[in-house]
Symmetry: C2
Subunit: 346 residues, 2 copies
């Protein structure tokens, strides 16, 4: 038998012959109850299978212990891992999750989403939306003067924003430096859409590594994809047509790397001998591509978990009227070396 909705604190009080506040004290584990009455009340609670109405508690306390999560693009790899990470840590810290998904990042949707969460009295909002630079103009102001704390995922810090981010730039650098170390020299890049923060950062990492080799004219080595395999396919053709001497490609995610591999095959290029490829994400399939794909692994779950932890601190500070001085928290990615980038014949 499940707790029946009808059993309230009053019923328990009556059955136990005590006042409702005593029951309240028991269910909140407060110490100002004699162990005798506590035991007694607890027994009644168990018998009646009473379970407190959190809605009523929230109203009374002015705090819901609920976090709002605004998400977007769950179909991109990693998004659901973030969510899993958020949920787990939130659960551990006693928070529930109100989920709001954006189908498009537009003013009306954003307003609806935020207002919906606010009117449901969430204690804080985690902005798990892939950050797009071009939207900032109208998006930024919406976050000002919000009545609850906000934690951002994967974007650059700005003002007092609290941000948790995967170090995508480092990832891009790791990938490129690995290729350089293997002896590849003309390393092209297939980036994601230019507005995406992740894409910009990964590219920046590639650029940093390349600059050290004295390469100039890097724009000829760059092609823009859309994260999907097809764009990696097309991308490699473009790159190859433009500079046939290219000997490696850093694809900014594994899907595009897969597309690039496909194109390479059709161009008669052997991987990794004629062309090396490194991806980004380490999707589970990457180890089973042909050849297996070197890539950058990221612990996305950790990003979600850390976001919740930061949120807790901010809420704490918020309630005490203190200021939370924010620094961006970085999670570090890791290079995974497989066959697609190991030079055989020097």
């Amino acid at each position: 038998m499940r707790p029946n909705k009808k059993v309230t604190i009053k019923d328990v009080a009556k059955a136990a012959g005590v006042s409702t506040q005593t029951v309240s004290r028991v269910i909140n584990n407060r110490h100002d109850v004699s162990s005798a009455t506590r035991a007694h009340v607890q027994k009644i609670i168990d018998n009646l299978e009473y379970s407190p109405n959190i809605i009523a508690r929230s109203l009374s306390r002015g705090r819901t212990n609920t976090l709002g999560v605004v998400g977007y693009g769950l179909e991109y790899y990693g998004s659901f891992s973030v969510l899993t990470g958020i949920e787990q840590r939130a659960h551990e810290l006693g928070f529930s999750l109100l989920l709001s998904l954006l189908d498009r990042i537009e003013p009306d949707n954003v307003d609806q989403s935020i207002n919906g969460l606010l009117s449901r009295q969430v204690d804080g909002i985690i902005w798990a939306v892939h950050w797009q630079v071009k939207t900032f103009d109208w998006l930024g102001p919406k976050f000002e003067n919000l009545s609850v704390p906000l934690v951002f995922l994967n974007k650059s810090q700005r003002g007092n924003d609290v941000v948790v981010a995967m170090n995508n730039r480092l990832g891009g650098r790791l990938a490129t430096e690995h290729l350089l170390k293997q002896g590849y020299r003309r390393i092209g890049i297939i980036t994601g859409p230019t507005e995406w923060w992740e894409a910009k950062e990964r590219e920046a990492g590639w650029r940093e590594a390349m600059e050290q080799t004295g390469t100039n004219d890097m724009d000829r080595l760059k092609v823009i994809g859309d994260w999907w395999a097809a764009s990696g396919d097309v991308g490699l053709y473009t790159l190859y047509a433009r500079s046939p001497k290219i000997d490696a490609v850093f694809a900014c995610n594994d899907q595009m790397a897969l597309g690039a591999m496909q194109a390479a095959r059709r161009l008669g290029l052997k991987i990794p001998d004629d062309l090396a490829i490194v991806g980004f994400d380490d999707i589970p399939e990457a180890a089973y591509f042909y050849p297996s794909l070197s890539t950058i692994q990221q612990d996305v779950k950790a990003v979600g978990a850390l976001a919740v932890e930061q949120m807790c601190k901010v809420i704490q500070a918020h309630q005490n009227g203190e200021r939370f001085n924010s620094e961006i928290s970085w999670i570090t990615p890791k290079l995974i070396i497989r066959q697609s980038s190991i030079k055989n014949n020097q």
Copy 2:
């Protein structure tokens, strides 16, 4: 400026010189308000940027317009699509989503999850957990006498369960019949874990199709995987060792199909000439495997959306004290033919 938490219905009433009741009527779009006062009150609302406290409303109404979603295994393909489908339709129908993820399917976790949602007064629970047969013994009873309606995803109907499911059996049949039509005869299967409903159903579909060919001794053609690519790899070796005459494989998801392709390559088997492969799911990468993978496409989002619709009906019935007579709702999968299963040389 965002609505300040402090602005309540009272403030609006005072500012507008009306009773709170009138304000309540306005914000609920009730028709028993003169258009004059409505306009007036609305103006005050806009000025004050008032937004109703949904928590208070829920307490008062005894209804939260919130659905609980219990999920598991977001890392498996499709899970997040279900979630997206659920969220979208829920949003359209005016429901919020309280998300609860299971890390393991164990009695304590399940209790916690369900009780958490119930004490937060959700109006219904969608059980989006991959159904595992072996857990039924202890899981089943937990769903009895629940105080709120329950809608299940992807399982067999039982008693009065309300279920929305992808027709996995049909999918298995489509895949197998396609192979037969192409002229393949000894069609092996790499299934998912035997406890999974999806795995059982896909296998049943294969079995149905095979039986029509008069094949017996089908167990020799069957191998059990764990949904991951590695198990498809191993699986194909096993299958091939056992019956070298095998000429096609139905892998019960695309990852295992990928693994099987890898193994086939090492065994020197040409796909699709020596060995045809069909997968299941149609993950975005499948079109870019080498060769591109024939597979079964499923509109998982539709499952989620339909689940919410069913939930609405059940809640309706529940509140009117009516009985909802449940039938399982099926979503139909679709065969996608690519290169991995098209016989070239007859």
